[in-house]
Structure formats: C-alpha cells, structure tokens
Symmetry: C2
Subunit: 303 residues, 2 copies
C-alpha cells in the first residue's frame, strides 16, 4: 500500500465510531490507521492522524474518555520492556504538534488494552480525541518516556462526529469558508483564573506585557500543576499564573519553568526579568512549581 506522509485528520468517510477490524491490515486498508506496526501515525510538522491503544506500554492508562498514552520507542523488541530513553522524533513529535494545533486524533483500541474499554478481539475505531497535555517523565522502568493526555471529543451520536476535513486543498483562490477549519487551540479559564488575572491587572508575570483591548486588558491563566488526570492539580489561586498568551504557550510546553525562588528558567531564550513578579494578594505555592519542573523531565539539560 502506498502511504503518503500525511493523509488527513478526522473521521474517515464510511467508517463509524465503534466499528471493528479483524487486524492491523484491515485497519490500514480502511485508512483509519495506516501503518501496520507503529502505534502513532503522523508527522512532526502536521501532527498525528491516529494512534492505536493496545496496552503495549507499561505506563499507558486508559480511563475511557481520557487516555494517558505513552510515546513510542526505547523498548527491547523481544521483551517489550523499556530499555532506553524515548526521544522526541517521529510519532512522539507528531503528538506534541497535535497538542499545539489542537488537531483531532483518531483513536483505535486493540484487544490488549485495558479490559474495561478494549474490544475482546481485534481492533475497534473509538472516535476522535484531542491531545490536551504532554510531558516527559521517568517511567516505571526509570527511562524517560513521553506521555500524552488525550480527551475524547464530544460526539452527537456514535456515528455523527463533526467532520474535520483534511487540509488537502491547494493554496489557490477558492474561498472555502468554514469547512477549511482543521485545527484549534483552546485556552480555558475558570473563576479562580479570573481572580488571579485581576490580581495582576492582566499583566504577564513573566514579561510585564499587558495586552490592551477595547474594554480593558487580556491575559491568560496557566494552571501550574495541570487540572485533570493524571496530575489532578487544584483549581486554586496558588496553582495559577497570570501570563500573556505567548508565555502561556511556552509554559504549557515546558519551554519555560519557574524555580522555587521564582527565577525564570527557560530553554527558549532570555527574558528581560530574572524572576516572575508576585503580588501580595496572590502567592504561589512552590510545590506546584516543583511539580511543573519535574513534570518536564526533558528540560533537565535546559533549565
């Protein structure tokens, strides 16, 4: 089968959520997940099209609508055990790109996975998920692994997910309107986040930028220890930073971290401040800063 490097995001026409496939060859023929062996299909530039969750990695954790997925590589082909650090190339890099673009990823479950959510035999297409967190850590084996949290996208019915058309059109003059949307990045906020933004008057704690809008100012709130599984950081002010959108992106990707004395640590260049700004009404709990740093083990060399 001739496989282009990139074939398109989103649902495959004619394939329903919940549809079964007898083996990887049938799955590839249906273009749901094209490689016959690799667990991740995609490129660093475009993002991941699809993954197979089959329980092959000791650190995987399938919670149904939320999957903690381990990257590829570093395993002994005979024993399946992790014997080397994973590196951020190929499929692993593709899933990081999916995080930054928000592209939907097709998820296929195999019979080897978590019993509660996996098919008894063969493989099953389980619909679209979004990569909403990624980090690197020392896995159970002691080696560096890349981990990703994928959250299921809402679907109206088992076969009615919104079509996310593949970016196949040329760069010509057509004006395709809404159907050209392929990816999205989502920035969430909470009531606690709003409190922190107000405490800092919407001024970035890293660079002092304050983005003026017609009605006030715009800033984003970054949870230091992320909300949701597996981090379960609390939604309290001591776990939130007020950042400009640029530094929010860098912080979430681990390109920017904060030492416990509030020194700015970065693998992304210099900043004009040495330490982030604190204000009397908003104190940061250092335990969350420690969690954020250890949570991005790939930064060991940088920060």
């Amino acid at each position: 089968m001739a496989s282009p490097a990139f074939d398109g995001f989103g649902p495959v026409p004619g394939v329903d959520v919940g549809q079964s496939f007898v083996d990887r060859r049938a799955l590839a023929a249906a273009r749901v997940h094209r490689p016959l062996q690799a667990g991740i299909c995609g490129t660093a530039e475009q993002g991941a099209e699809s993954i197979v969750v089959s329980g092959g990695y000791e650190d995987d954790d399938d919670g149904g609508d939320v999957i903690i997925y381990t990257g590829q590589g570093g395993r002994d082909p005979d024993t399946g055990r992790q014997v080397r650090d994973q590196v951020l190339t190929r499929g692993n890099a593709a899933l990081v790109t999916s995080l930054t673009t928000g592209a939907a990823v097709r998820v296929v479950r195999g019979s080897g996975g978590a019993r509660a959510y996996s098919p008894v035999s063969g493989l099953r297409y389980d619909g679209l998920f979004r990569v909403d967190d990624c980090w690197s850590e020392r896995g159970r084996s002691g080696f560096l692994v890349w981990r990703y949290r994928l959250t299921q996208l809402e679907q109206a019915g088992s076969t009615a997910q919104p079509a996310l058309p593949a970016p196949r059109q040329p760069m010509g003059q057509q004006a395709p309107g809404r159907t050209t949307v392929t990816t999205q990045r989502i920035v969430r906020s909470t009531a606690v986040a709003d409190f922190v933004k107000r405490a800092h008057d919407y001024t970035c704690q890293v660079c002092d930028v304050r983005l003026t809008t017609p009605t006030g100012a715009y800033a984003e709130a970054a949870h230091i220890r992320p909300l949701g599984r597996p981090h379960c950081g609390p939604d309290i002010a001591a776990n939130v930073l007020c950042l400009c959108p640029n530094h929010h992106v860098l912080f979430d990707l681990g390109m920017l971290a904060i030492a416990n004395d509030l020194t700015i640590l970065s693998g992304a260049g210099d900043f004009h401040r040495d330490k982030i700004r604190e204000v009397a009404t908003h104190q940061i709990d250092r335990a969350y800063l420690t969690y954020h740093r250890s949570h991005h083990a790939h930064l060991e060399g940088h920060v």
Copy 2:
C-alpha cells in the same frame, strides 16, 4: 426581583432549548434573561450571560446558527431609529469580553425577529452561542454601531447541551477538576494558514518573536478579512498573517492594524518594528488590510 450583577453562564437547570415564554417577565423569572428591557445581560468584567434577539435593530441579521447582532444604545426611544453613535460600555462591553474569554451566551429569540428563525409569539430560549467576532462600523443610519457574530454551539439534542457551570465557588481549597471550566478561547488554523506559518518560519510578522517548542516553533495564523459571514474573507495566503499569540489577540480585537504600506498602526502601544515583515513567498493583498481597518471604525481616533 433582586438581580445580582452576574448570575452565571450556560444552561439554566430545568430550562430546555426550545422552551417558550409568554413575555419578558416570565423569561426573567426563569433566570434565562434577567433584565426586563435590556437586550444584553452581563458585565464588562465577566462577559455576557444572555441576549434577546428581537429584531429591534435595523442592522441585525439572523441566519439561524449564525447571528449578526447589533449592540445596544444610541436609538431614539420613540422612533427606535439610530440617532447617536453606540459606545463600548455595559452590554456592548460585555459581549467583547465574551469574545476574549469564549464564554457561552444564552440566546433568546422574540417574535419580532427574522421570520424564518423566530417564534410566532412570545419568546423562545434557543440555546448557547459563542461570540466569535466583534467590530464596529457605520450602520445603515450612518452612526457607529457595534456588531457581533454569534455562532451556535453544537448540541447533542435539544435539551442536552453540556453544562457550563457558573463561576460561583469561592477561592478556597477545593479541587473541583473539570467542572470548573467556564470559558475558552479557540484559535483555529487551516491548511493555508499552515503554509503562511511555514513561509515565515513561525516568526511573528509584527514583532519577530519565534516561540520555540520541543519540536519546532509555534505561531498562529490570523485571517485579515475574517472567514465566515458577514465578512466572507477568503482562505488564501494573501489574506493571512503569521503572528505570535499576543499580536493575534490584538489584531483580532482591532487594537493593531496594518496600513497599505505595511506600517504597523496601533492603539496598544509602540512596537519595535515600523512595518510588518514580508517575505517573497508570501505577499499580502492590501485590499484585505483596508477591509480590516475599516472594519474597526472605533480605531479612527487611534490609528
């Protein structure tokens, strides 16, 4: 009725999408839309809770799942005609805040609105919409009006919209997890946008910032003349800028505009470049820059 300044976003428990109300008093009693007269309920700080679309403004344009809504104020109370410029306060400011936070807005239609989508009599709760564009322009009357595009959020069934809980909890120690999510900002991308980002090597055309990520770089693409109704800008490279997230926010809100000689015009402070950067492989069509500037008539004094 005692009305707090802010009562909460999202669905009202016990009220179904499509539910009818005989008059504004019944609508207010159900807490779907609390003011008895104003068309917009909300505050500049929190955003808009709800609006009533009743055809009162000459510039409204109800397309069903997409509504072009005109802000409040500036009308003669006797004739209903626009006799003054609208200003960006109260409800008008609340809808701008909803754009920047992404908060869901309850939409109620009254019998005075567009025939195809409005109830025959009384009022009807029509579910949650998101403000995804706002601008100011000279209305049919010649006076400045604020306009907003609201797009209906997907819903699984007529009564099954996802609950967006109100930000009512105190700033305490509880760790409420996913249910604290109240708002989100969405940054979309397209294949054309990806082309432009690559042409600039993910470097902001306004400030030359290039955000480094573990797998490359991160930038956002801004459509100069927006996609979708009513602007119907084309999804072509000549209508796209490569921006960092900070300048994307400012550009979309009209705090930053570009002259046809590519000079940066701003009501949001100085920039270290005088003109945006162009590259040989990506030329900008000046007609879209002109559209963007005229589309933000409130900037006349600034830029």
